[in-house]
């Protein structure tokens, strides 16, 4: 792609293949390709750099990200509540551990809520992360109603003057009605405590996810309105292109990316870097 200096049909097919294999999806790819074709008709290209700029610019337009994202808490709430949800195995628990460490390093008093009371050793896993990050954790017995854990955690967080509460939830497939109802109930409990909460509802998406990611986002946002995405496992070979369609449709930004399994492996999302990686 770097060596091409003019736009021909062969190059356009190559670009289409890159977008599709990056999991950008048929419809979004089609729209981006149309925009590229229109722009190529109107403008002239002297060299590969100009062409490359055009491509990156057209794709970048499609991605919603935040202006400045440096893990600063934007709400003025005395207790900032972050609700973390997503399908099984996407990286919720690990991402919460990483976020906890970041907020702690910024001088925030952080509390974790272990609301996955269903899966084997889920609470134990979050306890290890709480210890690694040096933050507090609220956990009750396994199989306790997760809403009861939320209640307990919010109580303790408010009474103890915590700044940030990160709520870990059990992985759930978005097609399971009873599990989505459970999630909705948890959100209601949060709101009953603090009407403006959760201040952030983050959907965690595995970068290897294909077109099902769109279905996930559509279903989850109906139950608990999403405010942003965390895209995990970008340290692999998957491009995570599915987030382009999701951000467009839901008009929410990708906030962070997970780039490994260690506590320091979480970064703010940069659309420029993301688009660049598509062409690697």
């Amino acid at each position: 792609l770097k060596a091409k200096s003019k736009i021909d049909e062969e190059l356009l097919e190559e670009i289409e293949e890159i977008l599709i294999t990056g999991d950008i999806g048929v419809d979004t790819t089609f729209t981006i390709m149309e925009n590229i074709r229109q722009r190529v008709k109107k403008e002239r290209y002297e060299n590969p750099e100009e062409l490359n700029f055009l491509l990156r610019d057209e794709i970048d337009k499609f991605i919603i990200s935040e202006e400045s994202n440096d893990f600063e808490i934007k709400s003025n709430a005395p207790l900032h509540v972050i609700f973390v949800i997503g399908v099984n195995g996407s990286g919720k628990t690990t991402s919460i551990g990483k976020l906890a460490a970041i907020y702690k390093s910024k001088g925030k008093k952080v509390m974790l809520a272990a609301c996955d009371t269903f899966r084997a050793a889920a609470c134990e896993q979050l306890e290890v992360w709480a210890e690694r990050a040096g933050v507090a954790i609220t956990r009750l017995a396994d199989q306790t109603d997760p809403s009861a854990v939320i209640f307990e955690a919010m109580q303790r967080a408010r009474n103890g003057n915590y700044d940030v509460l990160l709520i870990d939830t059990a992985g759930r497939l978005h097609t399971k009605t009873n599990l989505m109802l459970e999630l909705g109930k948890m959100e209601k409990v949060i709101k009953r405590f603090i009407p403006e909460a959760p201040h952030e509802t983050l959907l965690v998406i595995d970068a290897t996810t294909g077109q099902n990611g769109l279905s996930q986002a559509r279903h989850f946002t109906k139950t608990a309105k999403l405010s942003g995405l965390i895209l995990t496992k970008l340290d692999g070979t998957a491009k995570g292109g599915i987030v382009i369609g999701i951000t467009q449709e839901l008009q929410i930004p990708v906030k962070y990316i997970g780039v490994g399994e260690q506590i320091e492996d979480l970064r703010p999302f940069s659309s420029k870097e993301f688009v660049e990686a598509l062409f690697d």
């Binding site: 293949e17 599709i20 294999t21 990056g22 999991d23 999806g25 048929v26 399908v87 099984n88 195995g89 996407s90 990286g91 269903f118 899966r119 084997a120 050793a121 134990e124 896993q125 306890e127 290890v128 992360w129 690694r132 497939l173 978005h174 097609t175 399971k176 595995d206 970068a207 290897t208 996810t209 294909g210 077109q211 099902n212 990611g213 279905s215 496992k233 340290d235 692999g236 070979t237 998957a238 491009k239 599915i242 399994e261």
Partner: protein, 291 residues
């Protein structure tokens, strides 16, 4: 879904004799879209479409069958053929211990699958041992121990960071206790992580598993062939497990992996409980991809 789209493409075709290149090209475009939206790999889709075109051109359009249905039948049969016509069971060492190793990317469902497979074998009156060889993930060993305890199956593990030794210990324990099966749960890892891929190779050469299963999440997109191919080349496996099929992911990754590696799909995960395990049925997955 796809059937309706193809029907509308073929509305003018009824009773025209044979399918020609022109009148199927529109339908093939619809099939291509359906495949890509089902997460079938870009190149695999192209290969498949070319094959369908070959089979469809010149086919007689029987007066009683709608052309759209005919194309669907050609595709469906080709899919079932590709996905593997019959179930390939896991290896069984009738005279001594069968060692099964479970591998795959992070979060794909390996630990849960180890529990499911262990329970299935136990119900078939086999004695089973589980090995907790994920030495990295927080509480991974606890997770497997909890699963083992719930089904009365011993879990061999220790507090070390030595996955190879844990596997050796588990095999020794299984031999000493005349077990029929030992199932090795390994840590999730990236196919591009040299150190961790080397660890798998070391486990393999140390205990010589009879069966290696590659666990894949059904919602995996275009990247499926990359990890499947790399694991196949670096570790080699005997079968694939497709998990989280109880969701609405089409599972096209299974077709991609099967086409590129030729490995059989052996099991399907259909839920989080230890009983949520099914044997693979190619016709069901074919209908789902075309859904």
């Amino acid at each position: 879904q796809l059937q309706d789209k193809l029907e509308s493409v073929f509305r003018n075709l009824r009773g025209q004799g044979v399918l020609s290149e022109e009148n199927i090209s529109d339908s093939l475009r619809e099939v291509r879209r359906a495949f890509l939206e089902a997460d079938v790999n870009f190149k695999v889709t192209k290969q498949f479409i070319d094959k369908i075109r070959e089979k469809a051109v010149g086919t007689e359009v029987i007066k009683s069958i709608k052309p759209g249905q005919l194309i669907i039948k050609i595709i469906h049969d080709e899919l079932v053929d590709l996905l593997g016509k019959e179930y390939v069971p896991i290896y069984e060492n009738k005279s001594s211990l069968t060692i099964i190793m479970v591998v795959g990317l992070q979060g794909s469902g390996k630990t849960t699958f180890c529990g499911k497979l262990a329970l299935k074998l136990k119900k078939e009156k086999k004695s089973v041992v589980l090995a907790g060889a994920d030495v990295y993930r927080p509480a991974a060993k606890d997770q497997l121990k909890t699963l083992g305890k719930s089904m009365g199956i011993p879990v061999v593990t220790d507090d070390s960071k030595d996955a190879v030794q844990i596997c050796k210990n588990a095999v020794k324990y299984a031999v000493d206790n005349y077990a029929d099966y030992v199932i090795l749960d390994t840590a999730g890892r990236l196919h591009i992580d040299e150190k961790l891929m080397a660890e798998l190779q070391e486990v393999k050469s140390s205990v010589n598993p009879n069966e290696i299963l590659f666990v894949v999440d059904a919602m995996t997109g275009q990247d499926a062939v990359n990890s499947a191919k790399e694991f196949s080349e670096q570790v080699d496996y005997d079968g694939i497990v497709l998990t989280k099929m109880d969701g609405d992911a089409k599972g096209g990754a299974a077709l991609s992996i099967r086409t590129i590696t030729g490995k059989p799909i052996k099991f399907i995960g259909v839920g989080e409980k230890p009983t949520d395990l099914e044997i693979f049925h190619p016709d069901r997955l074919a209908s789902r991809i075309l859904g």
